[in-house]
Symmetry: C2
Subunit: 275 residues, 2 copies
């Protein structure tokens, strides 16, 4: 068989680890992670299943590669220069969300995968840099980062559960809702569903930026009410242990029920459902 060097996707190119990941990504994007099998991947590469294993140790490695690609793409989608850390984090968050929405399968992989690739590390490092240079202490920066990522991941996770986004497959849900409405149970749920979610122009995704702004506003407060605030950009590596910043003020309704937080015990080993 001759190697046709063409730009046509699906055509046979000289095999390559990059090309393998490329096609894997296309398959996942096109029909979900479930459609990405070694056999389907091989076929889309115009090759027999076992040939793929020359470029990749196992399927898990492919999934790791895909996750890394996602972060790479998210970084590429970011804008160049921004004036403030607020704007920088905002852009980053939006870019990351857009990317995760574009590749719905990616979020499911973020669990289970625990060997970050180069692009992933670069991404994390760059984000932390932004926060540190903005005056966040090491601890505070870590917390702020975790906070933002929590929101992003969680939001996309919810987005992926929502029926769709366009108003096409609503009827099925609507029927269920009507049934529940007539049952009289879940009145507030029905209310939210009928008056908000399934309204003509409703777009869940548009809420993202409002919530994001709420978070960033909160981070500003964190930053201002922290002692390290003036230390601006100390170089990393200078092992000054000024931890225990950020103890945050207590709110009236605060302490009462922290009870039995975190008691996960046992933990046998790393889970690996999709491997």
């Amino acid at each position: 068989m001759v190697k046709e060097i063409s730009g046509i996707p699906g055509a046979k190119l000289p095999l390559d680890r990059e090309l393998v990941l490329e096609r894997a990504m296309e398959l996942a994007d096109g029909a979900g992670l479930g459609a990405l099998t070694m056999r389907s991947l091989a076929q889309s590469l115009g090759v027999k299943p076992m040939s793929v294993y020359y470029y990749v140790a196992n399927k898990s490695e492919i999934l790791d590669g895909l996750v890394d690609r996602v972060f790479e793409e998210a970084d590429a989608a970011r804008l160049g220069h921004v004036a403030s850390w607020q704007q920088a984090m905002r852009n980053r968050a939006i870019a990351l969300r857009n990317t995760l929405v574009r590749h719905k399968w990616a979020l499911g992989l973020l669990e289970s995968r625990m060997s970050p690739g180069a692009a992933t590390l670069r991404h994390h490092n760059a984000t932390l840099e932004t926060l540190r240079l903005a005056g966040f202490g090491v601890v505070l920066a870590t917390r702020a980062y975790a906070l933002l990522d929590s929101y992003i991941y969680g939001f996309v996770l919810q987005e992926s559960t929502i029926p769709v986004g366009d108003g096409s497959s609503i009827p099925a849900v609507a029927e269920t809702m009507v049934k529940h409405f007539e049952s009289g149970q879940y009145p507030y749920l029905v209310e939210a569903a009928t008056e908000v979610v399934m309204q003509p122009g409703y777009d869940f995704g548009s809420q993202f930026e409002d919530g994001l702004d709420l978070l960033i506003r909160g981070l500003e407060v964190w930053l201002e009410s922290t002692p390290t605030s003036g230390t601006a950009s100390q170089q990393p590596g200078s092992t000054n242990n000024s931890h225990i910043e950020t103890r945050l003020e207590e709110t009236p309704w605060h302490r009462q029920t922290t009870g039995n937080a975190h008691s996960s015990m046992t933990r046998s080993g790393p889970n690996n459902p999709p491997d």
Copy 2:
């Protein structure tokens, strides 16, 4: 074979849909979702694989059942009466997180599963009720809910990716970190890792409540700066369309890069990787 009615887990009891879910939950908790196969489940029930299908249509139905159980458990873990909506939402969030941490596999199922069970619906309804009665409008309540859930889900998702929580399997990560440190790349990442994450007493989970408080504080602002604020507890079902509340004030660094948000296109069908 005689039916030994005993309390010993693993012993043979009269089969039952509830018992099937019970054992399924134990398997998932014990060794991850990957260990929950129809065959292993059957064995733990002291029965042959195909027998399980008398109580359950397919594996997917089991997973749905498990998710519902998780919400049931989360609701049960909540406290009785609370004084404010802040306290109520706080308790709910903490209870939900604890439950999700206790059953790490659950979060992975929240995707893919799109047929909520009774407990799930009850849970959502109760939460919305709290917000509505606190004076949140229909739209605002929906948004507030989505915001909180985003945070909860995202936080737990990150928690599940973190190596562990105790300081046991750190060395492996440490080695990787040292390598990256010497490479000079990712300085901020290394900084965060060495000075924060792998510090003796570090506990990622303890950040949860700080972030949660930040969110609730933000919700207070949302609630105060909304016109419907005084309408307190209007009964649901009264179809008054007072939407378009909550347009939020703009921040200086706000508008600039909303660009190309949400362009997910195509979307062939519901994904179903773990089915």
